[in-house]
């Protein structure tokens, strides 16, 4: 493991040599080459660095916003594999496939290596000095209101620097844009519980009723929830937890549920109110809100049978505490906020608030806490763009050209911006529209801090540190670039910091008392921070509001049938692909979608009954057409979807980005209608209606259903027992 005290920068220099010259014993074929191969040693050794023995460094995963703490295996100066940090309250030594693919992001052959300046259709490599000078020049005399800064979710010190930078212009246009985010749920939580992200305890619940929250796949902090799920299945007091999933398209979580209830798209809230009504324990507001939602009506509206509602009510009564989750399937409608509110109300009625829903800890540094967003930022950004308001636009960790509904015409609107600067790892769709592209370090070569939005345990700040020497001389960390830009504005304030590392160290040391370093000398504290990768902060947690207010809760009648576009369109969010930013990592392309087992492509999920009606068979290329556009993809007959809905997974359909992503599949963002949730202004992702038609082409679906084609052929292969036949508490 890691030495207790050393100078990290020197260490990296040494590693650079080792890394460059190491003999790759793992590759190449078989020849014996006495006297040909060069064998290079370290010029100055360090006692913890032994050739052929892996050294582990802690850092933080940057593949999604869950912010799992990771542990990178480094050998001879190269990072080989990422594993979970066992001391992390978030992921406890575990790591999902997406997180592991972080090394493929780092070693990706399509990373940008030089700053690029647009010259016609091409990018011309320029020096950083020139790039910085150009930015200063373009910002000359520009008013704060004329600058737009688009980013993904951010936290930690780079967020602090960014806020300071924007402040120096008096700029308020920081658009935090996350194409796939639980934004409506955050707002609903704020109303129902008083906090946006309470701590959820799946492992304390005896029953989890999830309305489309894919917490095992892509929702909020999937590794943490999966780990809780493992305990939940073993059960509290030997009583195995029961998972009921309500949604219109089966997610990974739905596939693992004991009971998977398919509802008519958009009626999740109706079912929640129906359950409140049927439970009959609610009073006041809640009872009033649920009034009239009798079983028969609810069954008619949602398509869930009365028997299933009865069974569910019975389960909810006998299994306390329980936990009800509102997820992306419930929030993706014009009335998404209402859906989420109704679902959260059910938690109040069941008395789960305070038991399985608890206040989460928060770090005592509000300036570092996460800046989260959703798609609501798009509207404002779009308005500003079409008004020609922005002279300079920065884009970081977001790809709005790819992820915004095509009907918003963001790509065209961007041409109205005088100068566009993209911080990028790849030449993705948005970077291709930029005038200046600044190549970033990968997360495995950069410094940083982050505060997870979902705080699983005590308040913590996660440390990200380089696991190896930079691969390319001319990439820069986002923090380093910001610091240079800040020095252009306020050189006096930042002159003490040679680079972002110095800034980070200085900032952390300043607050070491609050970060558990009281009494420790600076170096000891800093070395401890780096070796553990997690800093516990003396955090506070706000109390949850206990009130079960249902004021203003009204749900619309189920959507009427649309003759022209008869089908609901459900964009699928997969654990590996999310909003498409990871599409160029080949492990993720080759890793089958868990439910359809399809690889390297997009597909259209259609219920077999619907397919039979339309004469569609597996592999037919179908055209999915909405008011806003159309895409083509292969059909896959999928039993886990409402017959009146079709689903296409997000994340594929890139026109740029790199060799593994470009030209693969279709992009469903392109056909989303630009309709928004009434309360929050978030894009109503599930509100689009479509029709499908055959194109006449057919392909062989490339999938991996196992040697027997997904059938067990009467053998005991993947076996199953009834829950009442087994007592898990006896097991080892």
């Amino acid at each position: 493991m890691m030495g207790s005290s050393f100078d990290r920068r020197d260490f990296l220099k040494v590693l650079g040599w080792g890394g460059a010259a190491v003999a790759l014993s793992g590759c190449g074929n078989t020849s014996v080459e006495d006297g040909k191969e060069t064998v290079v040693s370290y010029s100055e050794p360090t006692d913890y660095m032994i050739p052929s023995i892996g050294v582990y460094y802690n850092s933080t995963c940057a593949q999604c916003d869950a912010g799992c703490n990771i542990n990178g295996r480094v050998r001879e100066g190269r990072v080989l594999k990422l594993e979970g940090n066992p001391d992390s309250a978030i992921n406890r030594g575990k790591l999902c496939g997406l997180g592991q693919a972080g090394v493929q992001h780092h070693y990706n052959p399509d990373r940008i290596r030089e700053p690029l300046l647009r010259s016609g259709d091409k990018g011309e490599a320029i020096t950083w000095e020139k790039a910085y000078a150009l930015i200063a020049e373009k910002l000359q005399g520009v008013d704060g209101e004329e600058i737009a800064f688009v980013t993904g979710g951010m936290s930690g010190h780079s967020k602090v620097l960014l806020e300071n930078y924007l402040l120096s212009f008096g700029c308020k246009n920081h658009f935090v844009y996350e194409a796939v985010a639980p934004a409506v749920v955050r707002a609903a939580n704020e109303k129902s519980y008083g906090v946006t992200m309470p701590r959820l305890s799946i492992n304390k619940a005896k029953l989890v009723l999830s309305f489309g929250a894919d917490f095992l796949g892509s929702w909020i902090s999937p590794v943490h929830f999966s780990q809780q799920y493992g305990q939940f299945r073993k059960g509290v007091d030997g009583q195995r937890g029961i998972l009921v999933q309500v949604e219109s398209k089966m997610t990974l979580t739905g596939a693992n549920a004991d009971r998977w209830l398919v509802v008519r798209p958009g009626t999740e809230g109706v079912l929640a109110l129906g359950l409140i009504n049927a439970l009959g324990t609610a009073s006041g507001d809640a009872a009033a809100a649920a009034q009239g939602y009798d079983k028969e009506r609810v069954s008619k509206d949602t398509g869930v049978s009365v028997e299933q509602i009865d069974k569910l009510v019975e389960l909810l009564k006998s299994h306390t505490p329980s936990l009800v989750l509102a997820g992306s399937a419930a929030e993706g409608y014009v009335h998404g906020s209402q859906n989420a509110a109704a679902i959260n109300l059910l938690n109040h009625v069941l008395g789960n608030v305070g038991k399985t829903i608890e206040p989460a800890a928060s770090v005592p540094f509000p300036q570092m806490s996460p800046a989260v967003g959703g798609t609501a930022a798009l509207t404002k950004l779009g308005e500003g763009l079409s008004a020609g308001k922005f002279k300079v636009l920065f884009n970081y960790a977001a790809n709005p050209v790819f992820t915004a509904p095509a009907s918003m015409k963001l790509k065209d609107e961007l041409t109205k911006v005088g100068f566009k600067i993209a911080f990028a790892h790849y030449l993705d769709e948005t970077a291709l529209q930029a005038d200046l592209v600044l190549p970033l370090d990968s997360a495995l070569e950069d410094w940083g801090t982050s505060v997870p939005e979902y705080m699983a345990g005590d308040a913590q700040i996660s440390v990200q540190q380089p696991l190896m020497e930079k691969l390319y001389a001319n990439t820069r960390g986002f923090g380093d670039i910001l610091l240079v830009l800040l020095k252009q504005r306020q050189s006096d304030n930042y002159k003490d910091y040679a680079d972002y590392y110095a800034y980070l160290r200085g900032a952390m040391l300043q607050n070491k008392n609050a970060l558990g370093g009281e009494g420790a000398d600076d170096d000891t504290f800093w070395n401890h921070s780096l070796s553990s990768g997690i800093l516990k902060a003396a955090g506070s947690s706000a109390a949850l509001s206990g009130s079960a207010s249902a004021a203003g809760l009204t749900l619309p009648a189920p959507a009427a049938a649309d003759a022209q576009y008869p089908l609901h369109f459900i964009p699928g969010v997969s654990a590996s692909h999310r909003d498409g930013r990871h599409a160029n990592q080949p492990w993720l392309q080759e890793s089958p979608d868990p439910l359809t087992t399809i690889v390297w492509d997009s597909w259209v999920e259609i219920h077999p009954k619907k397919a039979a009606e339309l004469g569609i068979v597996e592999g037919d290329i179908v055209e999915v057409t909405s008011k806003s556009g159309s895409i083509k993809a292969q059909a896959y007959l999928f039993p886990g979807i409402h017959p009146d809905a079709v689903s296409v997974p997000l994340g594929q359909g890139h026109e740029a980005m790199g060799r593994y992503a470009k030209g693969i599949g279709a992009n469903p963002f392109a056909i989303l209608d630009a309709v928004f949730d009434k309360e929050t202004g978030e894009l109503a992702m599930h509100e689009t209606r479509v029709k499908i038609s055959k194109t006449g082409q057919r392909v062989v679906v490339v999938k991996d259903e196992g040697p027997a084609g997904g059938s067990q052929a009467g053998k005991k292969i993947a076996a199953r027992l009834d829950a009442n036949h087994v007592d898990l508490s006896k097991e080892a």
Binding site: G26, Q100, T253, D258, G706, G710, A718
Partner: protein, 292 residues
């Protein structure tokens, strides 16, 4: 070993894996996979790609069945005639079962696959001539053949990505068979360390890559000979015995409520992987059941 040695000990070689005589001493690596905890998320599979230098073959070769995932997650829809909402998917992580009487071993014409004293089914790349008999004879279809020389195939390992390769594992060339090794490179390291210290490997000292990644902790792995190991305890609690092809608990008239089973046990391959059945809360009876 010389040929005469081979001849004089023929019966012993053909029966190297003594299901009935000497128990493995001091190691017998085994696994238990809890299907009730497995969510089918594929983290295990990607961890295996990272640890074992598995090539990414791309769509075209994938369509020809050339995918190289040593551990794959199979998905099965329930087949007992139920419909949703009581229907669901089942996931099964399938990797080399490290059979005690491995069908692949007996058919290899060159002895490239054989049993180790630790009860692993080893695959020796430099001995393999690519007859693929082993794969044909494997009931679990967990052996993968290198139809191409992936190290020199475009976009499998571009120069940048070769830096990620694990130096502890050979990168296989064209024409050889490969399969899950139970991360033998990790086992060798801990065994070596233990041996230098004059002890045996302790429970928890080594994890396979898939086990380490699994977010729900569905996979446990260890030395089944060690009574302290979790795997030993699990196998024992489930009354699954390594050396039997019919378990005593399955012969009774009443169905057992123990979840442990081995896949295709009746083929007498004596797999070293025990699965624990998925548990599902089911609707009371089919007659009362309505689909949505």
């Amino acid at each position: 070993m010389s040929v005469s040695n081979l001849l004089s000990n023929w019966s012993e070689f053909r029966h190297t894996h003594p299901v009935d005589d000497v128990p493995h001493d001091p190691y017998k690596w085994a696994m238990a996979v809890d299907l009730d905890a497995c969510t089918g998320c594929n983290a295990c599979s990607i961890a295996c790609y990272a640890e074992n230098n598995l090539p990414v073959v791309g769509k075209e070769k994938y369509s020809h069945g050339h995918v190289m995932h040593w551990i794959r997650v199979e998905r099965y829809w329930d087949e007992d005639g139920r419909e949703f909402p009581d229907q669901g998917a089942q996931f099964l992580p399938m990797m080399c079962q490290q059979c005690e009487a491995a069908p692949c071993e007996t058919v290899c014409p060159v002895g490239a696959t054989n049993h180790t004293p630790d009860g692993l089914n080893s695959q020796i790349y430099n001995r393999c001539i690519g007859s693929r008999y082993c794969s044909a004879n494997c009931p679990f279809k967990v052996r993968y053949f290198n139809w191409y020389d992936y190290p020199t195939t475009d976009d499998v390992w571009p120069a940048e990505m070769t830096q990620q390769l694990n130096p502890d594992v050979s990168v296989r060339g064209k024409g050889v068979m490969e399969k899950c090794t139970f991360c033998v490179q990790r086992l060798t390291v801990v065994k070596g360390n233990a041996k230098s210290e004059g002890r045996i490997v302790r429970e928890g000292e080594v994890q396979t890559a898939c086990q380490q990644a699994c977010p729900t902790g569905a996979i446990s792995f260890g030395n089944i000979v060690d009574p302290e190991s979790r795997v030993h305890k699990q196998w024992q609690a489930q009354q699954v015995e390594l050396a039997k092809d019919v378990q005593a608990k399955d012969t009774g008239e009443v169905a057992s409520d123990l979840r442990g089973y081995r896949i295709l046990e009746e083929l007498r391959a004596y797999p070293s992987v025990m699965y624990l059945e998925r548990v599902r809360e089911l609707a009371p009876a089919k007659s009362e059941h309505h689909s949505a």
